[in-house]
């Protein structure tokens, strides 16, 4: 009797303690949704901020800050209509960069998004108009807003380098690639795919293969030993090369 009561009490207590915890969100049966994840990689493995990497030019580079905006992340449906997943996000590659939205059930054939802040929201905008929860706000932009030409930094790659490629040498040479201004906006559209979403969540994994940005194979040279600093229009060649290579360094697992 006592043992039965204790067992009953334990079950009750565990059930009640469970009920005291915050409820985890659970998928709603029959609802279709899409999650877009963005991560950064170096030669196929997760890219680590503040880790030293050797690039194809022989430079040892350490990235202390890698951030960029994505604008209007959309799925393209079979009939050509577009479904918005997220309007603006600021990815910083130090944590989770995944974004989920309910989408109509159906067949999808492409993913597209802008790299940077869409023109209509970039120039002559006051970030003070947004609440801090917005990535376009003063606080939410985390230093990604330029004041002198009132626009956003679309992508930022900051750190230090040793351009001699010598192991053990302290990294002192600055890297400050701040790509911005409307000319550096890029649009990614995936290769066609066939994904049916029907009553469940589907994850689209977007990888930024950072090693390819700093590879001569990309055609646009971003060699830190030659050129490592731009603030958008202050060095448009580097800005354009970086953004072109960034676009080409994207791969998608639909």
């Amino acid at each position: 009797m006592n043992r039965s009561f204790c067992l009953f009490a334990l079950v009750i207590i565990s059930l009640v303690l469970q009920s005291c915890k915050d409820e985890e969100p659970t998928p709603v049966p029959g609802k279709s949704s899409a999650t877009i994840t963005f991560d950064a990689r170096w030669e196929g493995t997760p890219f680590q901020i503040q880790q030293v990497y050797l690039d194809d030019f022989g430079n040892r580079i350490r990235c202390d800050k890698f951030m960029n905006y994505f604008s209007f992340i959309k799925l393209v449906a079979e009939d050509g209509s577009e479904v918005l997943v997220k309007d603006f996000v600021l990815a910083d590659y130090t944590g989770d960069n995944s974004y989920t939205a309910e989408v109509p059930s159906g067949k999808y054939t492409a993913l597209k998004f802008g790299i940077g802040v869409d023109r209509d929201y970039n120039k002559d905008q006051d970030p003070a108009q947004y609440p801090s929860s917005s990535p376009l706000s003063v606080a939410g932009s985390q230093g990604m807003f330029w004041v002198w030409n009132t626009g956003y930094i679309f992508a930022k790659f900051e750190g230090k380098a040793d351009t001699t490629g010598t192991a053990g040498v302290e990294l002192l040479s600055p890297i400050a690639i701040h790509a911005g201004d409307d000319f550096s906006y890029r649009t990614f559209t995936s290769q066609p795919f066939n994904v049916t979403i029907d009553g469940a969540n589907h994850v689209f994994a977007v990888h930024i293969n950072v090693d390819r940005i700093f590879s001569p194979d990309q055609g646009n040279v971003v060699n830190i030993a030659q050129d490592a600093i731009t603030h958008g229009g202050t060095n448009p060649d580097l800005t354009n090369n970086f953004m072109d290579n960034y676009l080409a360094a994207i791969s998608l697992e639909p």
Partner: protein, 357 residues
């Protein structure tokens, strides 16, 4: 059945607790956001009320919060010095001398980290520390709360703000945080210039242009950019004049004296990084930098004009490191003229922020 009900009841508090937020009887405070400022985040569990802010003002200036009853927050945050301390380091009640300069209090409601090393994520957390810091007020919170409970002034003030005369650390912190959020400076010449009601003098205008212009050497031309390069970290976005991010501005090449953010994170690559503060009222808040090493704005500009000391953690925004900004004496005069337009005497003289005792 009865057992189950008892266990369910265990999910709820067994005894009445003091309130953790203002009651409906407290008067909502109408916070006016100045033009061009962003919305201010107010914690949901600490809405601004007239009574809470007034309690916070009393507490800010309350010397009984220190162990020997000789120092309040205001002792090291003097209004005439932009709510900072003119001494390089403040002296605590025991005579102990600090290692960092008293930070100027201004527009704190728009920041999202506090202290020079950014270790406090909210004002409610920040205000807890100086009272128990051995080199500041050197008290315990229990002693401080007992001092308030023994003072007939405070139970009614807490009751007016929170609906109960019970005095707790949580409510005291919330009241002080509320008061600090109201310390808004938005009536400087710079604010008026932005609003179109003041015109910069030519020297101020020249200084603002230098402030907003790249500095150091243009890598494409080999020629100086010609600016002072202030705006990257102290830009006027949202009228804040500081990005509140953690930067190493090149004061040192090694950091044993004060590791800054690295002392919080334990990450050597955070060495020398300190919070970027707002430049508002900078004319009044000497000495400058986290350790108050510079007595004048001229010394500050001289530092940036050298470009700063190269290290592996110096911020990439310090682009002139190893080279220099190439500012001349006229540039320096202009920059200082502009920086003085950030002074707001109506802020430092606002009776709403003065000692009510």
């Amino acid at each position: 059945m009865l057992f189950g009900l008892l266990v369910f009841a265990g999910c709820k508090p067994n005894e009445p607790e003091p309130p953790d937020r203002p009651t409906v009887s407290a008067t909502p405070y109408n916070l006016v956001i100045p033009p061009l400022f962003p919305p201010m985040d107010i914690p949901a569990d600490n809405p601004l009320t007239v009574e809470g802010i007034e309690l916070g003002r009393y507490l800010f200036w309350e010397k009984k919060l220190s162990a020997d009853g000789t120092q309040s927050c205001g002792s090291c945050h003097l209004p005439e010095h932009g709510f900072s301390d003119p001494n390089q380091f403040s002296v605590g009640i025991t005579g102990a001398v600090g290692t960092r300069q008293s930070m100027a209090l201004v527009n704190l409601g728009w920041a999202y980290n506090y202290f020079w090393d950014g270790r406090a994520p909210s004002l409610e957390v920040q205000v807890l520390e100086p009272i128990i810091n051995p080199i500041e007020m050197n008290n315990t919170w229990e002693n401080a709360l007992d001092a308030l409970r023994a003072d007939p002034l405070y139970p009614p003030l807490f009751e007016a703000a929170y609906g109960s005369p019970v005095i707790t650390q949580d409510l005291a912190a919330k009241a002080m945080a509320s008061f600090l959020r109201t310390m808004i400076s938005a009536n400087s010449k710079f604010d008026r210039e932005r609003a179109g009601t003041y015109t910069f003098t030519p020297l101020e205008e020249a200084g603002f242009n230098l402030f907003l212009t790249e500095g150091g050497t243009n890598p494409n031309t080999g020629q100086p950019w010609g600016g002072a390069d202030c705006f990257h970290c102290h830009g006027p976005a949202g009228m804040q004049m500081g990005d509140y991010l953690m930067h190493n501005n090149g004061l040192d090449a090694e950091f044993s004296a004060d590791p800054g953010l690295a002392g919080v994170t334990g990450n050597p690559l955070d060495s020398g990084k300190f919070k970027t503060t707002s430049l508002r009222n900078i004319e009044l808040t000497a000495p400058y930098m986290h350790d108050g090493r510079f007595a004048t704005l001229n010394e500050v500009i001289a530092h940036y004009n050298t470009g700063g000391q190269i290290s592996t953690t110096i911020d990439p925004f310090m682009e002139a490191a190893g080279g220099g900004l190439f500012l001349d004496e006229v540039d320096e005069l202009a920059l200082i003229a502009f920086l003085k337009t950030l002074t707001d005497t109506s802020f430092i003289n606002n009776p709403a922020f003065s000692d009510p005792h």
